[in-house]
Symmetry: C2
Subunit: 611 residues, 2 copies
Amino acid sequence: MSTTFARTPSGTELAAGTLPDRIVPPAPEHDGAVESLSAWGFQDTAFEVLPNRSVRMTGSRYDLSGPELPAIVPWVEEQIGIEIDPAQVNLPSYPPAIPEPRTHDAFLAEVAGLLPAEAITSDAEVRLRHGHGHTQEEMYAIRYRGTIARVPDLVVFPTSQEHVEQLVELAARHGVVLVPYGGGTNVSGALRVPAGEERMVVVVSLARMNRILWIDPTNRMACIEAGAVGRDIVAQLAGYGYTMGHEPDSIELSTLGGWIATHASGMKKNRYGNIEDIVLELTAVTPHGVLSQASTPPRESIGVDSRRWMFGSEGTLGIVTQAVVKLFPLPQVQEYDAVIFPDFEHGMAFMYDMQRANAAPASLRLMDNVQFQLGQTLKPVSEGGLGAMMSSFEKYFVTKVKGFEVNSMAACTLVYEGTKEEVAAQKRVAKRLAKRHKGLGGGSSNGERGYQLTFAIAYLRDFVMQYDILAESFETSVPWSQASDLCANVKRRLTEEHAKRGLPGNPFISCRVTQVYETGVCIYFYFAISYKGVERPSEVYTELEHIARDEILRSGGSLSHHHGIGKHRQEFLPRVVSEGTLASVSAVKRALDPNDVFGIGNLHAAQTVEG
Amino acid sequence: MSTTFARTPSGTELAAGTLPDRIVPPAPEHDGAVESLSAWGFQDTAFEVLPNRSVRMTGSRYDLSGPELPAIVPWVEEQIGIEIDPAQVNLPSYPPAIPEPRTHDAFLAEVAGLLPAEAITSDAEVRLRHGHGHTQEEMYAIRYRGTIARVPDLVVFPTSQEHVEQLVELAARHGVVLVPYGGGTNVSGALRVPAGEERMVVVVSLARMNRILWIDPTNRMACIEAGAVGRDIVAQLAGYGYTMGHEPDSIELSTLGGWIATHASGMKKNRYGNIEDIVLELTAVTPHGVLSQASTPPRESIGVDSRRWMFGSEGTLGIVTQAVVKLFPLPQVQEYDAVIFPDFEHGMAFMYDMQRANAAPASLRLMDNVQFQLGQTLKPVSEGGLGAMMSSFEKYFVTKVKGFEVNSMAACTLVYEGTKEEVAAQKRVAKRLAKRHKGLGGGSSNGERGYQLTFAIAYLRDFVMQYDILAESFETSVPWSQASDLCANVKRRLTEEHAKRGLPGNPFISCRVTQVYETGVCIYFYFAISYKGVERPSEVYTELEHIARDEILRSGGSLSHHHGIGKHRQEFLPRVVSEGTLASVSAVKRALDPNDVFGIGNLHAAQTVEG
């Protein structure tokens, strides 16, 4: 059982309080990875088209890195209906021109007394990077617009709670705007400085507040600074036999503080919970004071819990500086699997029954047919349509013997984590239910590949942008009964609207069910259009994405499952919550931050929104 | 599997949206049970001492009802060290004198236009009952004080969302105080009208907003009005094969709205979650508007979530009118079990390992030796010390063969709920771990008896009050490593303080671990003193309870696991949360309720506190 990993105190020890001490790990060692400033991910990794029209992922970071991938370009051409000429690369014009920083001498003088010079920068590219996340709008803008009208004026790197408290005090006193910054991976426009903001805007990067302050093995808790990056947390905790279990798609780059501020969800939430389940306690600095508490009980009822206000606060109320999180022992067993279904609906019914049987493994995801095909094209050696998930024999069996249609099949990937017994029990149920819904085993290596592809696929968007394709993902959550309809409605509506606008080629629309809950699911959409010859392509894309959101809301979906509101989904808030809710959120914002120190303008709390 | 109870739609149905409709159940039929006004529980049930010094529970409501219980009186006398004379009953002087109601003519005129006359009352006993919960302070006061200085001035019974909205609007306009009322079972003084409140105080009872509005079997959700009482919710949902799984000790009397307002915890939270896990969405009326939303996704990230503010709001921010909750199928299997340990510490180690093995059944509780003995005395036929949990043979085996000490043994009760496979897996682990920690099987009937005793034991407090014994329970939550120390510290401290005051007899102190979490436990204390000849006994008791709380906080425990703050624990809030937290909660209160319509004075949000 799990006690393999953590020492279990005996009854005597529990009685006497003579328990193992807290572990204080060393500061994380930097792994040498350098983030790209102009595209998603790390500098050592990018997709490129070779003269033979094969695609290759540079570097050696991912399973996908290295070999030629001959099937992508033809498949994308077929999907989008537009020819891709590898020679015609629309190279980014990064970096764009940005304005000179606004300055506030009195504030700067005090900051200079608080932080060392090397922890304060007005470097242009640093300011630019700290003023955007990863929406297509923002990435298109920094790569192709040539100029950005408003970016942060300064970036500072505090190293302590005291630094942050003093920065907030200084900002309030001098009328300066503060923007907390974690990994800069949001897809909500949350870091974009409102165009009308006349005050000096200072980004507070938590990058140097990235330590695991302590690990308590007996109670399975760790206190971690908010700037700690997901991949470092994973690596460090694993060294002691633990995980906090939170694995968002952005885990390589995003931070604990960012997870809290965006109300994040991890791919393995079935086993470990979402961020609000994992975080037991947090410390935050607001203009109204520091939110913190004296101890970390497992659960309590002490009134309206102000710590919970920071979940989903998106930088509008203050800065999360550290949090106490649950720890879980590294799983005794980790297994991957895949199941192929004749169509998406059979896959959905399987997912539903798995949830109903309380047998959902750590991760349970369903790819629609288009995404299933995408997975196949990312296979080193071309085997035609079904290569990635199956060998030639399997392909023959599935399509000829079982009669599955290549153009309707869907695939489910499963990640099991737990004790031998737990995993065995879940696998038994999965096997029985897969059979009930005409599923065929897709094999563990395909399951692992499907799961790991998440990280590599994230590089595709900025790659295809160079070939006049704008792509983006967006998500929602919806009750089970409305899920399939919602998917169909969004696909239909986007196809219609794409045609109505006379845009080139065909729209690429695909979806994936990424999370299951008792009452519903999270659905991810992947939507891409060719923008060859299209004017203001980014605006056109955003308009279509907002139409998709309209259709999602009409179909009973949420405004966001875990991406959040930021500025990108702000206009829809009044459709999903009552007037009283909006008024209350605004009232709370005004009460806690009367001078709008945290004036980044996200949520409805915004007093200024981008014009 | 669970699909026995709920129809599983096929893939085709999920795709086509042709799903079972929502079920609209009829209004709950009243079960005829009448609540006692002057004591805990129902009028048909009370403990009484017979001339032969046996105790009997009247009525036929509980397993315990009917037979003579000869062992209680001698055992209590031994524990407390004070002789009990059945003839010397300190009969309550209920009802106490209460003041004439304050009136506000303009408000009353408008209320008369809104509600029918029979839904508005200033009846003295009704007003009295709606102005207190079940702390010993409040129950002692209404039973023995003879007079209560301040009670609510009016009680109204709205039947619709519109009624509640208009009541809030009227109250705000006329400067009247509103107090939401559910089951009146709180143990935090939350319903006590602040002594200094000069305004008219109107209690808004949700008793007539008690319907299940709809059941959605496909998505396993139900929308329930906030005034629905636990026992009715259980009965009605069971008729459709469901449960919402929330079983607080007060479930016979408490309501959905009360559970939300107090941030309640249920005995079976290991399987179903606490109230914040079960409630997906709620509607609340605040002076700043109605908090509600358009749909019920399984989980979302849409900014600071104002609906969550109502959890633990204790009547200070508004009135919860309805909520959407998760449903679970009635378990395929329900089994009870008990394990006896040589001492509390062995039991704690067992509980710890059960949690670490992810094998905690729906309910897993540990009684200390005193509570174990109490359970034995509540056995119809006297068999001496060990009767209740064991037959004579078992007793012989446990004490003579296994060498357990009668005065140190502890007992764990387990309630398994789930599918056959789930329960079987948990039982296998429990068996193995019980053996590791020297546990002996206590039998399923003793397990069931231990669990069901919860409801009957609640009647003891008001019973012993008639024999000059003041008793009360209070709870905390604490990390595993501090749990045993905390229990020992509280027992030691109370014993010392009891002696220091020269109070009669011995203090009765017992504890029980009622909830397990990954990082810690919930601990309940039962503390009783004889007040024979003691002046102002209720105040003395409260002083001791607060000393216990001081010791709990010193020992790393929380201010409350699920009882909440109310007024009873208000003075301790500044010790457990930061100044900034208190300031922020107050700022939010002022922002959302600037006129203090919800002026009941709980939490730190209070603008007035009882003098």
